[in-house]
């Protein structure tokens, strides 16, 4: 992993994305899902920023918004200082070239009617002038070799490959245009465990070689820990804790982080058993989140203050950010 320089590549501040529930021709709107609610973070050039959280906490919506597949309700996202949601930026294709994506389900990520060659050259077709047409076959061959596939696979169709191979092709597609940030949306969770390690290693090699930054979304805590430099923990549309990966894993400050990390299975032979934190109840509905601190309904440290006052974001040492009235590190 490369060391991150200080200037942020991508900067997200107070990003809000709500979805209306109900609505339609005759029915009225019945509520609002607060999928992403005031999330702020930075991604530095060449680093890996991991985002963990349960299903439904807004991880994927965040990714889709950064890819500009969704328009945020409010907030600001800048890429190298340039706001990516201004009308000019939205029509600017060059910006799309610099942020790419690798999806979770490799079987759905490639159009079944296109050869791998067509899949890999489509981005080049859209972004004319990136690469001379005569050099496309060479580029495709390079990329396929880079991701560990035989170049002659270019003439095959997606249904002829295994999940792991397809995911490698997905990574190759993300690399075609030479992006600076790749958003990895659960990049390995659809793969066999044995293949997961290979794909994770490939992602790390690619990062080292091209200096690309990753934003890695996953619910697999061990993989996020393995590849991330920094991580953010999301709960019900909010970023509850953020900081250096090892710090957060070793000394979680937010009660939710502690509960989440203790749910990770561990191999422990003969050693001391880790203390398990079991949470009560279910994740509240994002349509109607709890007042004050959103985690208070399941938190063992909740007090009256948590119900009345939403916690503010505190910045601690080494860019550690915690959104809690009673962080565990103060004990």
């Amino acid at each position: 992993m490369t060391t991150a320089t200080l200037a942020p590549l991508l900067s997200v501040s107070y990003l809000v994305k709500h979805f209306d529930v109900g609505g339609g021709l005759l029915r009225g709107k019945t509520g609002t899902v607060k999928a992403v609610d005031g999330v702020s973070f930075d991604i530095r050039r060449g680093e890996t920023f991991g985002i963990v959280g349960e299903s439904g906490c807004g991880k994927s919506t965040l990714a889709r918004t950064l890819l500009r597949l969704e328009t945020p309700n409010s907030g600001r996202v800048t890429f190298e200082g340039q706001d990516i949601f201004t009308p000019q930026a939205l029509s600017d294709k060059a910006l799309r070239r610099r942020i790419q994506v690798v999806f979770q389900d490799p079987f759905a990520a490639l159009s079944p009617r296109m050869t791998i060659y067509d899949v890999l050259t489509e981005p080049l077709k859209i972004h004319e002038g990136t690469l001379d047409k005569a050099r496309w076959p060479e580029r495709v061959r390079e990329l396929l070799e880079r991701v560990g596939l035989r170049p002659e696979f270019a003439n095959r169709f997606p249904h002829e490959f295994s999940g792991g191979q397809l995911q490698r092709i997905g990574i190759a597609r993300a690399l075609v245009l030479g992006p600076e940030l790749i958003i990895l949306d659960e990049p390995v969770s659809a793969l066999d465990v044995s293949i997961q390690a290979q794909v994770v290693n490939l992602l790390e090699e690619v990062q080292e070689e091209f200096g690309v930054a990753y934003m890695c979304i996953s619910h697999d805590l061990s993989i996020v820990r393995h590849i991330s430099d920094r991580i953010g923990v999301m709960y019900l549309g909010e970023m509850v804790e953020m900081g250096d990966c090892e710090d957060v894993y070793e000394t979680p400050a937010h009660p939710y982080t502690k509960a989440l990390l203790s749910a990770e299975p561990e191999i422990n032979i003969g050693g001391e058993k880790r203390q398990q934190v079991l949470l009560k109840g279910e994740v509240p509905s994002p349509v109607n989140p709890p007042s004050g601190c959103r985690f208070r309904t399941r938190c063992w440290k909740a007090q009256d203050k948590c119900r009345e006052v939403p916690p503010t974001t505190r910045v601690g040492d080494a860019d550690r950010v915690v959104k809690c009235h009673f962080p565990l590190t103060n004990d």
Binding site: L69, V101, F103, S111, R113, E122, F153, N155, R156, F157
Partner: protein, 305 residues
């Protein structure tokens, strides 16, 4: 596009491994299906009959054989000697030539109707499904409104008001044929739109119309082709029904429906061949289309590989 193909070919020369497209797979599966292949053979035969029939028929479809008129029951029988291979109709016109002519019209109506359905319906449905929201609502409500009008009534009204002509018939059939196709295409598009390859294209900056043409439509084609082979016979049946009512093509032109109508009128007089020959072609063609449609569906969609 051409440049890409050659580029891909260059790569292929480096190694002989050639990918089998879904289409190639489907073709192999289709040709293993005996019913479908025999359906295809019948269709080709009927097509050839319509195409080369006029050149081998000894009689013209509109000329009356005066030697037969007045004695159709005996002189107008199917026979090789008189040159009336299928016999003559009640007016002494050669039934072989008329069946050839009717086949041409009926096939044309069926195919034009299906083409309009494929062209307009697929694009309309794909656009509505892809953009969604208000546009989708508006477009599909228009389809609902058009569907709720009894098409036969509209068709008859059109033919009565604007006069009976081939053009009116095509317009009338074109108006109704694409509605179902639009719904089917929209439904399929809705499932495709959520697929990640479409989102990947959007994230790369592919324009919406290009996404529809490059990613949505090729993946719709399987369903569309199957549905359109089933649509051709239903178009033929519409036309036959209209002609049966006496509102379709104008004399001396004819179609299967009109011929069957003539034949039905002569049934009581013992001139069964006038009904028999057109009916035979009508029935085998419909059967063949249904078999081919079934075969295509099985070939293109084996559990949606």
């Amino acid at each position: 596009m051409l440049a890409t193909k050659t580029a891909a070919d260059n790569l292929a020369q480096a190694a002989p491994v050639k990918g089998r497209s879904l289409w190639a797979d489907a073709r192999a599966r289709f040709f293993r299906n005996r019913a479908a292949v025999s359906g295809l053979v019948v269709l080709i035969a009927v097509g050839l009959f319509a195409a080369i029939g006029p050149f081998i028929a000894p009689w013209n479809y509109e000329d009356i054989d005066w030697a037969v008129l007045g004695n159709v029951r005996d002189a107008g029988r199917p026979s090789l000697e008189t040159g009336h291979w299928f016999g003559t109709d009640a007016l002494g016109r050669d039934l072989f030539a008329r069946t050839v002519q009717g086949t041409q019209i009926s096939l044309m109506v069926g195919i034009v109707g299906a083409l309009i359905a494929v062209g307009v319906g697929t694009l309309y449905g794909a656009v509505a499904g892809f953009f969604g929201g208000r546009l989708d609502n508006l477009m599909m409500r228009i389809v609902d409104v058009l569907m709720s009008i009894p098409y036969m009534f509209v068709l008859i009204l059109l033919l009565v008001v604007f006069g009976r002509s081939m053009l009116m018939l095509f317009i009338g059939i074109g108006l109704v044929s694409w509605l179902d196709m639009a719904r089917i295409a929209r439904g399929q598009t809705l499932t495709l739109r959520g697929k990640e390859f479409v989102e990947a294209a959007q994230a790369t900056g592919v324009r919406p119309f290009t996404i529809i043409m490059r990613h949505i439509v090729p993946n719709l084609l399987g369903v569309v082709i199957v549905y359109s082979t089933l649509l051709v016979p239903s178009m033929i049946i519409y036309e036959s029904f209209i002609s049966f009512l006496g509102l379709g093509v104008q004399e001396p032109l004819t179609s299967w429906g009109a011929l069957i109508n003539d034949g039905a009128a002569e049934m009581n007089n013992g001139l069964l061949w006038i009904l028999g020959f057109p009916l035979f072609f009508f029935v085998i063609t419909l059967f063949a289309f249904f078999f081919v449609g079934d075969g295509l569906r099985d070939a293109l969609d084996p559990k949606d590989r």
